[in-house]
Symmetry: C2
Subunit: 221 residues, 2 copies
Amino acid sequence: MARQNEGNPRTSDKTIGRLSLYRRLLNVLQGEGHRHVFSHQLAGIAGCTAAQVRRDLMAVGYSGSPIHGYEVVRLIESIREFLDAPGGQGVALVGVGNLGKAILAYFTGRRPNLRIVAAFDNDAHKVNRVIHGCHCHAMADLPQVVKKLGIRLAIITVPANAAQEVAEGLSRVGVRGLLNFAPVRLRVPPNVYVEDIDMTMSLEKVAYFARLAGAEKEGKP
Amino acid sequence: MARQNEGNPRTSDKTIGRLSLYRRLLNVLQGEGHRHVFSHQLAGIAGCTAAQVRRDLMAVGYSGSPIHGYEVVRLIESIREFLDAPGGQGVALVGVGNLGKAILAYFTGRRPNLRIVAAFDNDAHKVNRVIHGCHCHAMADLPQVVKKLGIRLAIITVPANAAQEVAEGLSRVGVRGLLNFAPVRLRVPPNVYVEDIDMTMSLEKVAYFARLAGAEKEGKP
DNA sequence: TACTGTTTGTGAAAACATTCACAGCGTGAG
DNA sequence: CTCACGCTGTGAATGTTTTCACAAACAGTA
């Protein structure tokens, strides 16, 4: 079995993100009946350059042909091998408010490799009910449930003031990756990876750059 | 009036994001009664280095004192002047599904400078109702409403297959910034800024790096 | 067979972002 | 007054990501 090159310079954050994107695009292409794809085509759909695509694909260790480009099926498979945990991973969702529910709905029936297998909330009205196909447990049961299901990933959709405590609780029971929607910077042990989705920040970025774009009347000649 | 330095190297994406973050942290500090703050303190809360904070703050053109650090109130004000449009900007939200509703709820009563002033959907059950404090219009009325309210920013929370069309429609009626939640790369005119929030991609990133962190048993000695 | 056109994979260069490190400053101690 | 301290602002160094540009590969054509 081909061990993925060992002392390699750790694949970057951004490359991983784009690989995930490429895979999704490739699935669409496959659905449309494409057998092969060139780097510049993928780049066109993904919104980046062909060189970027080729550079990213170096990480997964699958080579295309200079004549036919990349074989769609094989490339999808190679990305899957590179990105996904064998056998899939269960995900916990903590905080079943508006956003939490929306995310449950959003992820239901998507990538079967990453399934939300348990939700948690401390609102008695939600506990022990099934919401968008997912059982909602009491917060107090989090440690047992996480351990029993072997959960290593969690999505945090609790209010800002509860997020740090939740993150600590999750880290303590073996969770190694957090997708955090609370507008707070979490302090976690170094073996836990945190990805923040900060909608307020993103919206402010949009507002700033939209304003710039609008103000750019006198462009360069 | 101090014109913001003109031929300056365009302030980066990342810096803008962090400025938004600093502002939020500063608001918390202010609420806790802090009058002054040092770069290293801000860095500690924001999760970056002191040099980074100082470098970012160069963009806003407010200098701290080597003795007291930054005056919280004045710094907030300077960031506000730098980031915000004077008088605030209205935002449209297109697609009032689970996610759209959650976002309406999330942004209601936050930054008064960025308010969602109109929602759009083509589900007759939602049209002409007020959802989380926001009037929902029919998609067909989008051009008129956007023009009448002078909206230049929009949040896209429609299904993937409708997103491109919606983005084009918005671009056509003067919207200059899009916050896109649909898992699609939008093709828009170059004077429209797009920021993507791709939850699937983020979750896959978390899964990948969490797995790496877990596998790192034999660290370096 | 030889030549053409197109694409991959990848060193090298460029662009961009972060961190280092220090001059300069103002305060408080002596 | 003089000194020492701790912080800011920023030039320079370092690190990271993206882009350039070209050798190598090979199908098609004649």
